[in-house]
């Protein structure tokens, strides 16, 4: 499999998160899901760092941070 290279990666703040599910719904790659606590987790093996999840979060609970610092 080819390697995913990204400049930014998503990082979630579970305290800000309201479990609306937008991130899971709109992630183009399906690499965001709500875990059993209904908080977002990311599949960093395949996430491209596009930033859609952060953009669609209504409460800004997801931040795009420099790759490697998530």
């Amino acid at each position: 499999m080819s390697q995913i290279v990204r400049a930014f990666a998503p990082k979630a703040d579970p305290d800000k998160c309201t479990s609306c599910g937008n991130c899971q719904l709109y992630c183009p790659e399906g690499t965001v899901m709500l875990d059993e606590n209904k908080k977002p987790i990311f599949d960093y093996r395949y996430c491209k760092g596009c930033g859609v999840c952060a953009n669609e979060c209504p409460v800004h609970a997801i931040e795009m941070v420099k790759e490697g610092t998530q």
């Binding site: 709109y26 399906g30 987790i41 990311f42 930033g51 859609v52």
Partner: protein
């Protein structure tokens, strides 16, 4: 373990994460949304769009030839499934805008005329993106592409309307910014026998020139400005899916680099066209669109 959770998820959602599409591409987003509605008893046939990279990751049976082969292979698959007594399987034929609107346009029309029992989907990123952003018949007026560097001079071909003129049982427009609406339309299409056509505009950050993070936001603006209205034509009768509060078209145009070269009067022209379409759609709602 997080990776195990995701591996299980990819099996459930019928698409593997990590496609070769660009970041922010609407293609894999479309297929994930669509496959949830279509389910595993589906065969997907199709090729062409850049978003085809997403098709390599789906977890239902899939077959493609080239983009000059839209709807025709699906016609053969459909006949073979009838021969096998497996009409329970949903057959989806998919093509990009270049395929559906240009090179395979005649084939889509013919499949509609034959009322083939398939769901024909157009995944429209509004140019030949796979070959490096060249104009297609579905590129909107004024858009930059490598073959229309000063902006496209002709209008976007209205494929949903043309297909509706074939008097097929179901035609719909959809958007990945409104996933539940798209899914409801696919579920409805699954239950109908005959030719169903669903046309979705998908965002292309690379070809439309904007930050990938805005992919869904830009797509939503397309709907909310009435540039890409959402509707159904069921048995010839028009029904609006959404009647959003109309935002000015400049909000949509300014969000994309491909419209940077537009002059004042071109923007006015686009607004006038959008307004006219909105008026016509609202006037025709509940009435037959065909003659």
């Amino acid at each position: 373990m997080i990776s195990e959770k995701f591996d299980r998820r990819y099996s459930d959602i019928l698409i593997q994460g990590g496609t070769q599409c660009c970041p922010g591409c609407g293609g894999p987003l479309f297929w994930r949304i669509a496959l949830e509605a279509l389910g595993p008893e589906t065969i997907v046939y199709g090729d062409g769009p850049c978003a085809m990279c997403a098709l390599r990751s789906i977890k239902v049976p899939f077959f493609a030839i080239h983009f000059s082969f839209i709807a025709d292979g699906a016609t053969g698959i459909s006949a073979a499934m009838r021969a096998k007594g497996r009409e329970d399987i949903t057959i989806v034929s998919s093509g990009g805008d270049g395929a559906t609107g240009d090179i395979s346009f005649g084939k889509v029309s013919a499949a509609a005329e034959r009322n083939e029992n398939i769901i024909q989907i157009c995944i429209d990123n509004e140019a030949y993106m796979n070959t490096g952003i060249q104009k297609s018949g579905l590129t909107p007026y004024g858009a930059w592409t490598t073959t229309t560097p000063t902006g496209k001079e002709s209008n976007k071909k209205d494929i949903p309307l043309i297909v509706a003129a074939h008097k097929v049982p179901y035609v719909a427009t959809a958007s990945v910014a409104y996933p539940r609406d798209l899914q409801a339309k696919l579920r409805k299409a699954k239950e109908i026998k005959g030719f169903k056509y669903i046309h979705t505009v998908i965002p292309c950050p690379t070809g439309w020139r904007f930050d990938p993070a805005k992919a869904v936001e830009v797509t939503r603006l397309g709907v909310d400005t009435w540039t890409w209205p959402l509707y159904e034509v069921e048995k010839g009768v028009l029904k609006m899916s959404r009647r959003p509060e109309q935002k000015p078209v400049t909000e949509y145009l300014k969000a994309q680099g491909r419209f940077r070269g537009l002059k004042e009067q071109q923007v006015e022209h686009i607004q006038a066209e959008v307004d006219e379409r909105r008026r016509n759609l609202l006037a025709q709602e509940g009435k037959s669109l065909t003659l």
